[in-house]
Symmetry: C2
């Protein structure tokens, strides 16, 4: 696959039409391809001078640890996503990132990234632009946790994850492959594992959604969207705002 056709290039191209030169710099990011096992920390809270990563395959989750031993999962990264960007921009990381599956990434050193941003600022813009879209997802997540009950919250979150995977060709209206365990889902939604289990049973018994090891199946997409008050439009974007 040419770099121009990679998930990342496709994503960035949605914001800024990239020139040959910019694509070449992007290509340079992919020098250092690596594979990691599940359960490895790629980014650690408080650590200095870390690299960023571009996720080519597999899933990663970003989370914060709390003193009580609990954690809050803030976001999941799927293929095509950048990760550890903030830990480069601010020189120190404010969160952890852990591989959930076997993962393939391109590691981009802090210096390379900053150099690239300095020489091809339009590319920098595209990357930060994409980060800004990811923020929209974190905001939706915030609303889930703040103002939706466990049932709506779970439904909404799994729909959103599906919408996001559809963008990179990894999901459909029928469902998607999902390596989350129930307790990870709990940590993402601010619930306990026990309660998530009961909520998933309810969703199953109501014929709305089946969450099984490695697979999310939308049994009744329409009713699910209605229950969760899910807005299907907010991820759309019709063309780059900045032309070459």
């Amino acid at each position: 696959m040419s770099i121009a056709g990679s998930p990342l290039a496709r994503k960035l191209g949605a914001f800024v039409a990239l020139t040959e030169k910019e694509l070449a710099v992007l290509e340079g990011f992919h020098q250092c391809r690596q594979t990691f096992d599940p359960g490895v920390d790629l980014v650690r809270q408080g650590q200095l001078g870390q690299s960023a990563f571009i996720l080519a395959d597999g899933w990663v989750c970003s989370y914060k640890l709390l003193p009580g031993g609990t954690r809050q999962i803030v976001d999941f990264q799927v293929p095509g996503d950048f990760l550890g960007l903030r830990s480069v921009l601010f020189r120190t990381s404010d969160h952890n990132a852990e591989t959930m599956t076997t993962v393939e990434v391109s590691e981009v050193s802090s210096n390379d990234l900053i150099d690239a941003f300095a020489t091809t600022p339009r590319l920098a813009m595209a990357v930060l632009w994409a980060a800004s879209r990811d923020e929209a997802m974190v905001v939706e997540h915030l609303v889930d946790i703040g103002r939706r009950n466990a049932l709506e919250r779970t439904a909404h979150f799994l729909l959103e994850l599906g919408a996001r995977l559809k963008l990179v060709g990894l999901g459909t209206k029928e469902g998607y492959a999902c390596p989350l365990s129930q307790s990870m889902l709990a940590d993402a939604l601010g619930l306990t594992g026990v309660h998530i289990n009961r909520v998933l049973r309810q969703l199953r018994e109501k014929g709305l959604l089946t969450f099984r090891t490695g697979q999310v199946i939308f049994d009744d997409f329409e009713r699910l969207v209605k229950l969760a008050d899910f807005d299907t439009a907010y991820l759309d974007q019709d063309g780059p705002l900045l032309r070459q």
Copy 2:
């Protein structure tokens, strides 16, 4: 005050050392100064082709409405903050923004902003970079709501707001002026107005913090930080990553 000394220029300068030309473009943003009364919507959910605003004075809050009539406040904007950026980047807004006080803003039209981004990409970078820092705050907010109980959550949130205001010279370790009503605080923290009232009483009775109309007073900063598990370091940043 020269443009180079404005809160926004100061903030952006922390990321990217701005050139004369870039400062001039920033200056251009301030052509269209306006004043709004409290309770006015600056940005409306779902509206197309909106302007962005630079907040010069007063407070604004960004929130999402839910079908049940409840709302979740996602963030507050204080002087020096950009707002409505995402509604320009994505052509349509995913949230509302309402003035909380009398407010002074500079309106920057969608087209002017995109043109400026195209001609001075380093400035664009600085703006998006600042947006990325704001996201760190939304993440902290997410953790508050997901994994802290009402007391810790309220304490943590008010400490964070204080830290942020200190950056723009509007707060100290003693406290800060704060135009939030109890029910706004409730909408931000995912609680009810009734419960926030009880929590604020507890904080007052424990001699930790006093929240009164228009004023937050830290009665015992140290103990408050400890209760809330507040990290005082995460807002620090020592110099621009990109030089002129």
